[in-house]
Amino acid sequence: MKQRLEFTVNGEKVTIFVDAWRTLQEVLRDELKLKGVKSGCNSGFCGSCTVLIDGRAVKSCLVLALQTEGRDILTIEGLSKDGALHPLQQAFIDHFAIQCGYCTAGMLLTAKALVDENHNPTEEQVREGLRGNLCRCTGYKKIVETVLAYSKGKKV
């Protein structure tokens, strides 16, 4: 029997009925059609499914949806407001931190949470903070440069 889940997703209150064994990733992608939440390995290692729960990065494939009652979920779709890109999204574009794009949503959200908490991270702290997000395309260099530039408020 499906159970009721009420939470906030990208700023909007959502009420939905889900099976207990569904992960947050499945509910976001399949029920709420938020395809920006990616599904790279479905076993909690690649980080492409990362979303923010109450502002903290969590791998949505490792969370039962029903555990997020009352929580505030942010996916990549919730970053831009009224059509305007979040500065971190713009930074990823401007600094060429995107290639195939599949790790991007998770990487970006993890980076956002990192800088929200630590406004002036060192390179070492950025690397530690992004350890849970795998990328096969970029070698991470431009991603790290992007996050550092963003945290310093620079424009390209």
Binding site: K59, Q67, E69, G132
Partner: protein, 292 residues
């Protein structure tokens, strides 16, 4: 995952009642960072999942005169950022740094990690080195267990099916003591090749007590008793580090796997033990107000 029934208690009492009723057929979930992968691979298929995330009374890190208590819902992140823990038990912050990725730490719990009893789990070795205890409750009552007696086997603890692990208790560290921990992995975040925790207590230029705990090199954490004994009573000017490290390597009981062969893992225990004991000694000296 195979379908299951989902239960959501909001108090410890309610949880214990559910555990009594469902016993073996139920699994507790807090952060689920270890449990959910197993459910996905269908290694486990419980009939009931009891979700602890709403038992808010378990969400604490508090101190009393004797030490610190970490509740079952405290996340790794809570531990890592707790000013209390930074002050009293910096080795635990060190442990959290080695533990894993930010996402795991934000949602997974320290007590949950102990209850899961993965032999590669980071918290157990330093906590055992600190002499920590855990408290379990059930409808039958409560008991406090020394963490060093808590692990029975691979993924197996002394907990009964109707018991809930509610907190870790760590007594304040004695004077002139220091602790250190490191895990050696192939890549950041991998399962350990080996991990070593050490707590060292000094008295008058000598090692009064040493506790060396090995992680990830056996089905449970291992107390390297021979190694610890070799250091006890040794004078700081002549610490038998090499000998103790070799003893620790011999006490390790690793299996060959994808992280390394058993022989290589023993070598890593040897290297780590020297390093960690040295660091613990340095911290003990610093804590005692002296310098070398």
């Amino acid at each position: 995952m195979r379908p299951f029934a989902y239960l959501r208690p909001t108090s410890v009492e309610e949880t214990c009642c559910m555990l009594t009723e469902h016993g073996e057929g139920a699994k507790l979930i807090a952060g689920g960072q270890s449990l959910i992968p197993m459910l996905k691979q269908r290694i486990m298929a419980p009939d009931y999942i009891i979700d602890l995330k709403y038992v808010s009374e378990l969400d604490y890190i508090v101190e009393n005169g004797e030490g610190i208590r970490i509740g079952a819902l405290a996340t790794h992140r809570d531990v890592e950022t707790s000013p209390l823990i930074r002050k009293r038990f910096p080795v635990l912050m060190e442990m959290e740094r080695w533990l894993a990725q930010v996402q795991i730490k934000n949602w997974g719990t320290l007590v949950g990690n102990l209850a899961h009893a993965d032999p590669g789990g980071d918290p157990a070795p330093p906590l055992i080195a600190l002499g920590a205890k855990v408290k379990a409750v059930s409808q039958r009552g409560k008991r406090v267990i020394h963490l060093e007696d808590f692990f029975e086997d691979y993924l197996t603890t002394v907990l009964e099916p109707d018991e809930l692990l509610v907190e870790v208790q760590i007594s304040n560290p004695p004077d002139s003591s220091g602790a250190a921990y490191r895990k050696e992995t192939i890549r950041a975040g991998d399962n350990p090749i080996g991990a070593v925790a050490a707590m060292v207590r000094l008295e008058e230029e000598k090692v009064r007590e040493a506790r060396i705990i090995l992680g990830g090199v056996g089905p449970t954490p291992i107390k390297a008793e021979k190694a610890s004994k070799l250091l006890s009573g040794a004078s700081l000017g002549a610490l038998p580090l090499g000998e103790a490290a070799r003893a620790a390597a011999e006490e390790a009981d690793p299996s060959s796997d994808l992280e390394g062969s058993a022989e290589y893992k023993k070598r890593i225990v040897y290297v780590l033990t020297k390093e960690i004991v040295s660091r613990a000694v340095e911290r003990a000296l610093a804590q005692g107000g002296r310098s070398r």
